[in-house]
Subunit: 344 residues, 2 copies
């Protein structure tokens, strides 16, 4: 099982620095965390895509390229690329270039995005939400699988025997489908035989089993071998020396961030009781000691019929850099060996 970190490159709002310097520091610290994750033996680092003040990740491949230049082994992925609002030609060019820079460590997680600000920014209508994703994914896969492409669709100019460069060094650049809770998305991923990255950021993880079954059934029906139908989990999580330390450290920033997002989305404010439930044995939050979180990951994997990648998103709780670096270390030095011993 691969273990990694996802981030949305949160902007910090520290009043002792001016705004521009703050953002330079936030990016420098993020790059430091990626280097640290590489050295600690984590498998993958992912960067989201948002187009809003709170996050610095509107151009995730730019940050990934900087990370590629400073790392040796860790795989570098988007989490997710909002392909619905992007041009698949540019997306492919960016990731293919990243693949050359990183010597074959680039991956794409393609999704529709959980925020919606990209749609009006790039001139798309929310009523085309599904049609956009379907068409752009189709083109992206076509470009991945063919150097020269002939294609036409509704949302982008046609291509007529046109070649897209550069080509990546990996024979087939990995493209995952990033999904939330829409059954149709699970079925689409299975039918296409694409690996699936499921964002489970709240509730109880095992409840996603029926959706994951839909994915595996659709994949089998379409004739894809079971080993191609990989499932990954994007989680919110943070590992500390002890479960008590980890949950207490993580709570204040977590509560603030999710209460704020909740206002926009109509969720109730976060409470400690609800948080404690979600950091408990069946809850989605991977917060605790290395041992407790390792056991939880294995429990989740069993409940979901086997998962092959888990990522922790830990930096939305505004924890100090030293705590985040320490958490990455604990994941690399303690959690990963525990998982390796107990998974096949």
């Amino acid at each position: 099982m691969e273990i990694g970190i996802d981030t949305f490159a949160a902007a910090t709002f520290n009043d002792t620095e001016d705004k521009a310097t703050r953002n330079v520091n936030a990016i420098a610290k993020l790059l430091e965390r990626i280097e640290h994750a590489d050295q600690a033996g984590l498998d993958v680092f992912g960067i989201g895509e948002h187009h809003r003040k709170e996050f610095l990740d509107s151009a995730p491949t730019i940050i990934l390229a900087a990370a590629a230049a400073r790392t040796k082994r860790i795989r570098l992925t988007s989490a997710v690329t909002v392909i619905s609002a992007a041009d698949p030609v540019r997306v492919f060019q960016n990731f293919a270039t990243l693949d050359l820079i990183s010597n074959g460590r680039a991956e794409i997680v393609a999704g529709r995005g959980s925020f919606i600000e990209a749609y009006p920014l790039f001139g798309y209508k929310l009523e085309d939400y599904d049609a956009l994703f379907s068409e752009k994914l189709n083109l992206l896969l076509k470009i991945r699988d063919n150097e020269t492409v002939t294609w036409s669709g509704k949302f982008r100019a046609p291509l007529t025997n046109q070649a897209i460069y550069p080509r990546p060094v990996q024979p087939s650049l990995p493209i995952w489908l990033g999904v939330g809770g829409t059954p149709q998305s699970f079925i689409r991923a299975g039918t296409l035989g694409l690996p699936l990255m499921v964002a489970i950021i709240g509730g109880e993880t095992h409840r996603f089993r029926p959706l994951i079954d839909l994915y595996r059934e659709a994949g089998a029906k379409a004739g894809h071998a079971p080993d191609r139908l990989k499932v990954g989990l994007h989680s919110i999580g943070y590992v500390g020396n002890t479960t008590r330390e980890a949950t207490n450290d993580f709570y204040p920033g977590y509560a603030e961030t999710f209460t704020k997002i909740g206002k926009e989305r109509g969720w109730p404010p976060v409470t400690r009781m609800q948080y404690d439930a979600q950091t408990g044995p069946t809850g989605a939050l991977l917060v605790g000691s290395p041992l407790e979180v390792a056991e939880k990951i294995l429990r989740h994997s069993e409940a979901l019929g086997g998962i092959s990648r888990v990522t922790f998103q830990m930096d939305q709780a505004a924890l100090p850099q030293q705590k985040l670096l320490k958490s990455i270390e604990l994941i690399g030095e303690q959690l990963i060996p525990l998982i390796s011993q107990h998974s096949i």
Copy 2:
């Protein structure tokens, strides 16, 4: 005067490696040259944008971001960004992110491109060549100068009070206009008060004086202070220990590349006699010893009424990496001090 290097990230066609590995190595060597230029004290490194097999620079900001992570002082620019075929929102996001990563070292040279493959690839018509550039440049400048933008045009969806993030750390991200020989382009740059990057890749440099006068006159007429009306020179050049060594080293690859490009554009094949004329005292090619090239740059500067940046494009002649690194060193250690002593 600032001295730098420009590159198109040429793919190499070395038969002893497989194609994908070749491209990984070509990018790794390019990054090594940028690091070397940073350490040797060069001021700027630029990467072009092309969408064809021979060049690996379809996503130049991705390469620049990797370079940013490995360098400390050198400024990082496009050379040029084909904004006519791009979305100015994405262009700005890429460069603003690069600016954060590099702590304020990002610049854009915006141009129309000297090749035309970007137009059909991104669904634009060559008949809109000038209208596209003008509209996209206008939007790019608006985004640079305002966090929140309201805008509408012909070639991109409108923006209504929409904010573009992240914001760069430089208070005003430098945007140059990259021009070839079109008088209208020089006038546009002057009228807008933008610094001008002139590509002079053949002929005699002093012959560009009337065009540069057009730029300065248009700038003065529009009320821009003379010190805002900077002129830079993108040149083909290569510095060796002696002029004889440099010109002989550079010729074979230069002749091959420009004969090939010439076939596509209807130019006659390159001859040694023509090459010798262009490497001579008034010719555009900056090939020679540090002293000879320094003198030539100062001569060009005087002939053009003062230039504030010169870049060398040296890697299209397929010279070995050691020669290119040595040339960068000679520029940093010998040519730059000579220029500093003699220019104001």
